[in-house]
Symmetry: C2
Subunit: 499 residues, 2 copies
């Protein structure tokens, strides 16, 4: 019975054009005959994943040109700023739940349905497209990512993961591969948080991390009055299925994504095997001194909030270096803000990160101790050498965000590792790199309720959230190939352990 | 003939109330009889400055209560933010050429005229009030300052100088003092540059430093359309006399002002003998790195403009300490400005100052060399110790202002020194301090065309441009006393050298 399900979804034209029946099928030369069998319940042959050999896995090839053509095809909706001369050298501006996002969503639904998928839309507009397997009583194994972009974004962040999922479906279909369990592709709503300012908000609702009402009532940034709910209704994507992992369970979630950093490029690696997501803490540091005239106030009587903040920013970098973590200041505001007034107040952001929670905690402890010393005027690590001692400032540190480290699931990581190994052979060690994601992704939310891992491909110059964001076609294809291999290996793993 | 002029200006009520004629005058006990004489051209006695003994100078006393009452009386026009409980514990908001400025001007004209002065208004609205002397063919010796304030200013900046000038006129009148040359008080228009954004603009026009047309066309800040000319017309202070030192010459300019810094307070000095104005240069420093994700970009691959700028700000302070100058950063902006993005561009102001032009030049040279090294990633004075080496940034330095050091006139400085010495006697060294002004004043402009110097009195906590700006009544009176003494000594000096 289970395999019958596939007939309901396999597109008719595919059956007809290839005219595949047990009587007249031809064996594709790159597939080993041993992996081809006739299912008892099926009028024709299929490739059954649980019986794949290693070489069978490698014989299933994604189509690089089709993958890239599809990526660029989808970029007709929300085309952004031009950065080069060729037709595809533009960025993207496809904010969540806008008309261009609706167009991309309509295309995704239509395309997955034409590939035989059943699509479900939940109350957050997340779209789940499922290609049935032999046993459809268990939840699908998903590839997922997002189609929305930053206002000044590129063609790869999120989009690559969705289109690679679609390419996976196409490869499965064209090779008549039958998975043990259903396989799906999910498009998560508003991953970027650019228009409605909570990132990964819809996977968070699905994973029961944020209440639906809060997400529905989230207003767009700026002076508009639109909410996520009003815009979901407006574009016709307010689904009737609850946005909940209990309603729409995932067996696993694999996400192919551009790295958005320079690690792979710098180390000449092609695939990042993502073992988790860094822990981070965000702080607002307020340094209060006294605003005084730059011309009339000697150094000795100043409480210079900007000079003090400069020492703190430098020292936070030293602390992070010592602990092997990261520390960054991306926002800084000062008051009153006049060339001839020593600032009385400086507020700056501090973002500290590490793959390990305990390292973040240790860095925070040291930052708090050291910033207090710097504010008091103590000479920390020679910062005050050659300076004039001034008056003390006051420092206040508030915690804005606290995100614990995420450890992805060993089973999923293993499938990614195996898929990369199958592809690269003895060059695997050279061409892959295990790393923790520095950025947040929907996979952080899925990892809380189902086995999850991610695959990274190189970002040119580490650039992302920028029109010039770029990943080479062959690197995109390699990523899609590993995604396909990982999903199929996970399908086999589920069968092996008898789910 | 010369002394007759005074009768035209001396207020009638004063003549009547004291009923002073040669026949029935009484000698005030604190004046030595030797300094009282009958002028051949006058029907009654006067005190003639050129014949004052040291003790005569000291016998002329400003009236502290009257001085303070007058200061606070003028603060009814443009009363600002309250900072304390007593009636006078409010700041001031009397922007140039507003209705409140007009009220203060009207009072100034009326009050000086009632004291026997002739007032002239020039094309920039500068008001020159002149009390005739014995010889009115030569230009007057002036006390001057300004009645306009910052939008969030205090009761002393500028106002003290004008009111002390008025108190000088009152003391001269009540003691029947006849100066050798005329003595004046000048109120300069828009010293602050707060509403029309060039500070000291009207003394600059008068001193031929800025063209009249440019000053007239200066638009108010914000979205308004008013110009200095339109507002001068509106409040009736667009005078017909050219705003030019050639039309309205000053023999000398003395300015009493609050220090606006902490030097006098810190050293327990009561009078600052201002020998000049610091040289300063203003720069905009642009550090260009690369904006990258804080989570995905290791330190080694970052070109972190904010970290680099922090090192520069710290090092500029060290350079200034080494040279005995000042360096300050009062403005800093960064892009793109997001907690999880390493800033790609940081722009900050750098204000360097010294009493000596050559020190400013030396500091600039070192700043340019060192900032280039820091941008390249070189380890300057251990800044990079404990840091992770990253990618280089680019630094660009543009010069926004270049103001050479101003040296006040030795004759004027000498008169201030003598006036303070007469007042403090053997405590002079303890209670006075020679210093260069850190801030600009109208005296900078007057010094370019006539002998000039300034007198500073202590600012509580060095605070200025703030509602809580405060100088003790006794300190205000001491300053006014030194101003009076300096102006009279200069009058005598002019006579001595036979002007």
């Amino acid at each position: 019975m289970a395999s019958l399900a596939i007939y309901e979804f396999l597109p008719k034209k595919l059956c007809l054009s290839r005219n595949l029946t047990p009587q007249n099928h031809t064996i594709k030369s790159h597939l080993s005959p041993s992996s081809i069998r006739f299912f008892s319940t099926s009028p024709r042959w299929n490739l059954r994943v649980s019986e794949f050999s290693s070489s069978d896995f490698n014989s299933l090839k994604v189509n690089q040109n089709r993958l890239m053509d599809t990526i660029h095809h989808t970029c007709q909706w929300g085309t952004g700023q031009r950065w080069g001369d060729t037709p595809t050298e533009t960025g993207m501006k496809r904010l969540a739940l806008t008309d261009s996002d609706k167009s991309a969503r309509d295309w995704f639904v239509s395309e997955t349905q034409s590939l035989g998928c059943k699509t479900t839309i939940d109350a957050m507009g997340n779209i789940f497209a499922v290609r049935p397997g032999l046993n459809n009583d268990a939840p699908p194994t998903y590839a997922g990512s997002h189609l929305d972009t930053q206002p000044s974004g590129g063609r790869y962040d999120g989009i690559l993961g969705i289109v690679a999922g679609l390419e996976m479906l196409r490869v499965l279909n064209e090779n008549w591969v039958e998975t043990e369990y259903p396989v799906g592709v999910v498009n998560w709503t508003n991953e970027e948080g650019a228009r409605f300012p909570i990132s990964m908000v819809s996977s968070a609702v699905w994973a029961h991390q944020i209440p639906l009402e809060q997400a529905h009532n989230l207003k767009e940034v700026g002076s508009g009055t639109a909410t996520q709910k009003s815009e979901l209704q407006k574009i016709g994507y307010l689904g009737s299925t609850p946005a909940a992992h209990t309603s729409i369970p995932l067996s696993a979630h694999f996400e192919l994504h551009i790295e958005q950093g320079p690690i792979l490029e710098t180390s000449s690696s092609l695939i990042g095997i993502v073992t988790g997501v860094q822990a981070y803490k965000w702080f607002t540091i307020t340094v209060t001194g006294k605003d005084t005239h730059t011309g009339t106030t000697p150094f000795a009587t100043r409480a210079d909030a900007m000079l003090t903040a400069s020492k703190m920013i430098l020292q936070s970098h030293r602390i992070a270096t010592k602990h092997g973590g990261l520390a960054s200041t991306g926002i800084l505001n000062l008051e009153p803000g006049s060339t001839n007034t020593v600032p009385g107040i400086v507020r700056f952001s501090l973002d500290i990160r590490s793959g390990k929670d305990e390292v973040v905690e240790a860095m925070e402890k040291e930052v708090r101790e050291v910033f207090a010393k710097i504010a008091r005027g103590e000479n920390v690590d020679g910062l005050n050498d050659g300076c004039t001692d001034g008056k003390p400032c006051i420092v206040d540190i508030t915690t804005d965000s606290d995100s614990k480290a995420v450890k992805f699931h060993e089973d999923c990581i293993g499938c990614v590792r195996d898929a990369a190994g199958g592809l690269f052979g003895e060059k695997t060690e050279e061409l892959t790199r295990e790393l923790a994601s520095g950025a947040g992704h929907d996979s952080v939310n899925t990892s809380k309720v189902c086995p999850t891992s991610m695959i990274f491909v190189p970002s040119k110059d580490g650039v992302s959230h920028n029109p010039a964001e770029y990943t080479k076609p062959e690197d995109c294809a390699t990523g899609a190939q590993v995604l396909l291999g990982a999903v199929l290996r996970y399908d086999r793993l589920r069968k092996d352990r008898g789910e």
